[in-house]
């Protein structure tokens, strides 16, 4: 049996074994994946980076626990970026099942800021979490008039006017931009009602499945950036120099994909070598 015949008849269990090894390695060996974030992700990052301390930004965590794996890392990295830049962060959710999860995220990141940046953003001064209200389209429109229409109070029941950072903050005119992290069609409402009617500067983070549907909005300039799926999340973490769960998962993904690609290449090489060898033996006959 020649070498390439043996390769062609390679037992699939070798594929399984190599894949297993390369999926497990990244769990123990942490190293940075060299990612090259595409423009649409860099646009989101640069937008936030270019804001000045004290600027207001609205982050809408419009996903449910089902999309947690892909969107939570973006939320974490982005919130930390905003807190570190001392932006005033308004957060809310338009997903019914996501209210508590979003609240925890907003607070957890604030807590971890103490460790990483030496200060703790204060609720009510540095950030506010407005909670969940039904009818996303109406909420988005209502906030265009005044935040107090859909959200007379924040998640904890404090009236907006008695929250220090919300004083004088009336509607989208007072904030620099909106970033919606969503797994579904809430994004369409943000485009139609938020950007379409009030010209809000808008960016999205979407799940890997849905992201393709929202690229046209990026191309047409209705949104200024888009972060797609686990890869986008890892890229965002990379830009923020804040590797988290998405980077971990991406490390495994890169390895797994590399394994599959290498095997495909090996298979084809063996196939071509075998075909040439066969042609040669036929010639010599």
């Amino acid at each position: 049996m020649t070498f390439n015949e043996r390769l062609l008849a390679l037992d699939r269990r070798w594929v399984f074994l190599v894949l297993t090894i390369f999926v497990i390695i990244p769990i123990f060996v942490k190293f940075a994946v060299p990612l090259s974030p595409p423009k649409e992700v860099r646009d989101v990052y640069n937008f936030i980076e270019d804001l000045k301390p004290g600027d207001y930004i609205l982050i809408s965590l419009d996903y449910d626990p089902g999309s947690l794996a892909e969107l939570h890392p973006v939320a974490m990295a982005m919130l930390e970026q905003c807190y570190a830049k001392k932006l005033k962060v308004i957060t809310l959710t338009l997903s019914q099942t996501g209210a508590q999860m979003a609240e925890e995220a907003v607070r957890d990141v604030a807590d971890s800021c103490l460790v990483y940046h030496g200060f703790k953003p204060v609720p009510g001064i540095d950030y506010v979490y407005l909670g969940y209200k039904p009818y996303p389209g109406l909420i988005i429109l209502g906030m265009g008039m005044n935040f107090r229409i859909p959200f007379p109070q924040d998640y904890n029941g404090t009236t907006l006017d008695s929250i220090p950072m919300m004083r004088g903050i009336k509607n989208y005119d007072n904030i620099k931009g909106v970033i919606s992290l969503s797994a579904g069609n809430v994004s369409d409402m943000w485009v139609a009602d938020g950007n379409g009617r009030y010209n809000v500067k808008l960016a999205f983070a979407q799940t890997g499945v849905g992201v393709a549907d929202y690229y046209p909005y990026y191309q047409s300039g209705q949104i200024f950036g888009i972060i797609g799926g686990m890869k986008g999340a890892a890229e965002y973490e990379y830009l923020c120099k804040n590797p988290g769960t998405a980077t971990d998962a991406m490390r495994t993904q890169v390895f797994a994909h590399a394994v599959v690609i290498v095997f495909i290449i090996i298979g084809n090489l063996a196939f071509f070598l075998g075909r040439r060898a066969k042609a040669r033996t036929q010639e010599s006959k």
Partner: protein
């Protein structure tokens, strides 16, 4: 516990920050953003009510002219609230809120509930009255009651005309070609690779003395793909009986199992060997997707069937089954209507019936003129669909998008 503490701390820090800020903020200008109820916007005008067409008689179509304050000014409208009542001068508490729409919208289809014990019950053939409020920032306009209006049953849904036309054309074509087939007119169909493979595969199983595994997918007996698979199963069973091979049919649904049993039995009877049919060869595994896959994979690896046939409705199990089949060294034939799973079958199986080829397969296998007739009808309707696409696109190119958009923007679609 930790959350309670955290919540407590959050509240505490909030209170503290309030206290601190209360002192510093005293010099701040008054919070201009505060929601001061503005003047109420002007009410919407010209409220018209009609029975909602194409419904079960529990709906009213409400229309109005936008309020002059819609979309502009300090007292701009944010939304419109629609209320319904049984009497024009009922007190506010007896007006039921039927719905809310955002600014700029000037109609609302009020689809009530048809059960009289439901909170949102909208009675049929009864006088109803409506009010529409323009809602501004914290205030709403005045609203006058309009009505009466009554809701009626409708006997034909005019929005479904396109489907009706296509269905009727299809029926006519089918009947016409079946009649042609009955009269003995030869209907040509091109050869299909996967179909010939089925014949060969059964022959191979006979040579190897090994069974054939036929998997109907994870659909219920109500899924068309499963039904198409039954029609193929009958023919395969017949050939299996003729070749005197055995077959294994694991099913995911009891009804699927029952119909498959009848089908296989009939196939054996057609081949003239009804006694060779074994009831246990068509059996129920479980109704859950992944346990089913585990069991079928086990069967494949242990029985090492000469051929695996996967036809029907498949989801993620497509590749799970097909790769296991490769491990067992079986020839594999697959087909499904699930576009998302076709790539995996194409990659892992020897022959794949793509999409509608699954539906055509029974006609090919049986070669019965009547079945070929429906196949022809299918081709003709496909041609009609193509012509429609061409014509509409041409119309769109030559007349501009508006003309073509108009019919397509109707609620038909």
């Amino acid at each position: 516990m930790k959350y309670i503490i955290l919540l407590f701390l959050t509240c505490l820090s909030l209170c503290l920050s309030q206290a601190i800020l209360a002192q510093t903020a005293s010099s701040d200008p008054p919070a201009e953003a505060a929601l001061v109820p503005s003047e109420p916007p002007a009410p919407p005008g010209n409220l018209t009510l009609k029975d909602l067409p194409n419904d079960d008689g529990h709906g009213i179509a409400v229309k109005w002219d936008l309020s002059p304050d819609d979309g502009a000014g300090a007292k701009s409208v944010i939304s419109y609230d629609i209320y319904r009542s049984l009497s024009p001068d009922a007190p506010d508490s007896l007006w039921k809120k039927a719905g809310t729409v955002v600014l700029g919208v000037k109609s609302y289809a009020d689809k009530g509930n048809r059960e009289s014990d439901n909170d949102d019950y909208l009675p049929k053939k009864t006088n109803l009255y409506y009010r529409v409020y323009a809602v501004g920032a914290g205030v709403r306009s005045v609203a006058a009651a309009a009505g009466p209006v009554q809701a009626y049953d409708n006997w034909f849904n005019t929005l479904k005309v396109p489907e009706l036309i296509f269905c009727v054309v299809f029926l006519i074509l089918t009947v016409r070609f079946i009649n042609m087939a009955k009269r003995g007119i030869d209907l040509y169909v091109r050869p299909l690779a996967g179909i010939e493979a089925i014949d060969e595969a059964i022959g191979r199983a006979t040579e190897m003395g090994k069974p054939i595994l036929y998997c109907l997918g994870i659909g219920t007996a109500g899924d068309i793909a499963t039904i198409a698979s039954f029609t193929i199963l009958g023919r395969v069973a017949r050939k299996v009986a003729e070749y005197q091979t055995s077959m294994i049919v694991p099913c995911i649904d009891p009804i699927v199992m029952t119909i498959a049993q009848e089908t296989v039995k009939a196939g054996y009877a057609d081949a003239g060997r009804p006694d060779a049919y074994k009831e246990d060869s068509v059996y129920y595994v479980t109704s859950q997707q992944f346990p089913y896959v585990a069991a079928v994979n086990g069967t494949i690896i242990r029985e090492k069937p000469a051929t695996n046939i996967y036809l029907g409705y498949f989801l993620a199990e497509s590749l799970l089954l097909a790769e296991t089949g490769v491990m067992a060294g079986s020839i594999q034939i697959a087909g499904t209507d699930q576009v998302s799973q076709l790539p995996f079958f194409v990659v892992a199986c020897d022959y794949t019936l793509l999409g509608e080829e699954l539906y055509a397969a029974s006609a090919y296998l049986g070669r019965e003129p009547l079945l070929l007739g429906t196949l022809k009808a299918q081709d003709y309707l496909k041609a009609i669909a193509l012509v429609c696409i061409f014509a509409l696109l041409a119309l769109r190119v030559f007349t501009g998008a508006d003309v073509i958009h108009k019919p397509f923007d109707m609620p038909w679609w």
